[in-house]
């Protein structure tokens, strides 16, 4: 186990030493899973880029300049301009904000709600479990994109609503995985002890069971991050996600990018590369994290 310091050791250590253990665990992760570390570095760079977009972007991402429409990459516009003369690089940098906001928002909310439902389903068992599982089955039999499309159609397409639409299909997928881990945890003596001590259901679920499904939770969360970014791009590409003039990678691939693909290929190439690189980095990191956290898969 590379990530968690053993609980008994950590308990004896002071805060400074405990922190030292975490740094050591992180270093160990980098050494043993170099691909994952590369992914993590790209993710961190992307987050920094999104945070400092105002300082980094050479142009205003929304500034229309009809004098330099569809101009090829040059010293002024490193990645060229689009059909409104907007700087592609600046829009890419600002687009990372949209991608990360929707990605983190949807993945975090979706896996959290899914985890609570999954643990609850495992904890209560019986009827509750049966009914919850049937409801999850219903949501699972919708293709991801169709469910998201329907939700956007209902709520309208603001940034929050797109996040909602991407989050909902993730809930049952996470609940399914967490439930199977939760079933094993329900049988643990400490859950019996908590029940014997007279704690309420909510307390047992949130304080005793939820922390112990952290590993599958983190695995699902990192897997969802990439998927959420991809789904946001797909929805925006269809015109059902984030709306113009907001900078979004999927939106940049829509319309003019395809129409002028032959004369101005930079409009279609760079946003796609940005999406691929971002999802690639998240997947690399998530994959390595899964290998490190899941003892069953570790040996394989």
């Amino acid at each position: 186990m590379a990530i968690n310091p053993p609980a008994d050791v950590a308990a004896d250590l002071g805060p400074a030493e405990a922190r030292h253990r975490w740094v050591a665990a992180a270093l160990d992760f980098c050494r043993r899973r170099s691909l994952g570390a590369v992914g993590a570095v790209v993710v961190v760079v992307m987050i920094l880029m999104a945070l400092s977009a105002t300082a980094l972007a050479p142009y205003d991402p929304l500034a229309v300049d009809f004098g330099s429409m569809l101009s090829a990459p040059s010293a002024q516009h490193w990645l060229g301009t689009d059909s409104f003369g907007r700087d592609v690089l600046s829009r890419l940098i600002y687009g990372s904000r949209t991608a990360l906001l929707v990605g983190f928002g949807a993945a975090f909310l979706g896996s959290t709600v899914g985890a609570i439902l999954g643990v609850g389903s495992a904890y209560f068992g019986g009827r509750v479990d049966l009914y919850l599982q049937r409801v999850m089955d219903v949501f699972l039999s919708f293709p991801l994109i169709i469910l998201a499309l329907a939700i956007v159609a209902i709520l309208g397409n603001s940034l929050q609503n797109v996040t909602m639409a991407i989050m909902v299909p993730m809930i049952p997928r996470c609940a399914l995985v967490i439930r199977s881990s939760g079933l094993a945890i329900r049988e643990m003596p400490y859950v019996d002890a908590a029940r014997a001590a007279g704690f309420g259901h909510a307390r047992i679920i949130l304080r005793h069971m939820l922390p112990n499904v952290m590993a599958p939770f983190l695995i699902m969360l990192t897997a969802f991050l990439g998927q959420a970014i991809l789904l946001e791009a797909s929805l925006s590409f269809l015109g059902l996600g984030v709306q113009e003039p907001t900078a979004s990678w999927g939106l940049m691939l829509r319309g003019a990018a395809v129409e002028f693909a032959e004369t101005a290929p930079w409009m279609a190439i760079f946003p796609g590369l940005a999406i691929s690189l971002a999802v690639f980095a998240f997947s690399l990191f998530g994959d390595s994290l899964r290998d490190a956290l899941d003892p069953k898969l570790r040996s394989l």
Binding site: L35, I146, A150, A153, A233, F237, V258, P271, G272, F280
Partner: protein
């Protein structure tokens, strides 16, 4: 076994019913209905009476539970009614598009299997070498690359390198197989590459697991040729989880190709779904969702049966 099949079969019914209820009410929650959309398209002012009359024609003035009951009664008799937008029977609307989406899904699945199995086996045999890493990066790149963007890149590449564009008008396979293939092979490659990723990982880990089994050691000990050990003993036993993954992905492909269809100008189920939602065409949307969900549920059912048939332990759980 009979009891297991029956139990598993009966479990499909509440799921399908749930899907029907969900999409029925989802559609009614979407603001605006088909009548408003129709009349807002025309510049003339539509009076409230006209709107109400039109709603009555579609039966939208009746209580919701009755609309639902009538729809369900149609569904159990395989009568999905007519599209509210075009007025033609739903069956006719879906028929051609279903054939297109089905063909594309089958082709993409073939591409995915052809990529996944050799790559997965190779990665397993060369575990933790550079070959393993290259395969891993290749397959993660597949997950990361949006297939609609890959489609754009394919088209762009063909245009720049060969000065040739794939046909943009759909020709059914039975009319001209060559034209049909020329058009559909590109989206199939783009989607198949993406979907090969999960199957590759599955093949690799299943192979690694199987290669550690006693019967593989026995086969080696009795001096069997390595090639035979791999194909007869290892691969055969490693295929079950891979087949499951491929089957489930195939089921998802039926309804999940919305974006790729857009890029390649294909008039498949995905595009029809987007249009029907935009038109608030309740009958068509409901039929489409039910169709896609049924495919998914039935494929899952078949997978479960296959598992139970191959692994008797599952039946008694």
């Amino acid at each position: 076994m009979g009891k297991y099949i029956l139990k598993r079969f009966l479990l499909m019914i509440p799921t399908l019913l749930g899907v029907a209820v969900l999409i029925f009410f989802l559609m009614r929650v979407v603001p605006g209905d088909i009548v408003e959309l129709r009349f807002s398209g025309e510049s003339s002012f539509a009076s409230k009476e006209m709107l109400d009359k039109e709603r009555a024609r579609f039966g939208l003035d009746r209580p919701l539970w009755r609309q639902f009951a009538e729809w369900m009664w149609g569904v159990v008799r395989f009568d999905f009614g007519t599209s509210m937008w075009t007025g033609s029977p739903i069956f006719e609307e879906i028929k051609l598009r279903f054939a297109l989406s089905l063909q594309l899904a089958i082709m993409a699945t073939i591409v995915a299997v052809l990529l996944a199995i050799p790559l997965g086996v190779l990665a397993a045999l060369r575990q933790d070498t550079w070959v393993d890493y290259v395969v891993r990066i290749f397959s993660i790149a597949g997950i990361a690359t949006p297939s609609f963007w890959l489609g754009i890149v394919f088209i762009l590449g063909l245009l720049i390198v060969f000065k040739w564009l794939p046909p943009m008008v759909y020709t059914p396979f039975w009319v001209d197989p060559w034209q049909n293939m020329l058009q559909l092979i590109w989206p199939a490659l783009a989607v198949g590459y993406r979907y090969s990723a999960v199957a590759t990982r599955m093949t690799r880990s299943a192979m690694l697991e199987v290669l550690r089994e006693d019967y593989i050691r026995t086969a080696r000990a009795k001096g069997l040729v390595e090639k035979l050990i791999l194909s007869r003993h290892a691969l055969k036993n490693a295929m079950l989880p891979v087949l499951t993954v491929v089957g489930i992905e195939f089921a998802f492909l039926m309804g999940g190709l919305v974006v790729t269809e857009q890029v390649f100008n294909l008039n498949g189920l995905g595009l029809l779904f987007v249009q029907s939602v935009a038109h608030r065409d309740y009958t068509l949307t409901q039929a489409l969702v039910l169709l896609v969900a049924s495919v998914f549920i039935v494929v899952n059912f078949v997978m479960d049966l296959m598992y139970a048939w191959l692994d008797p332990r599952i039946r008694y759980r």
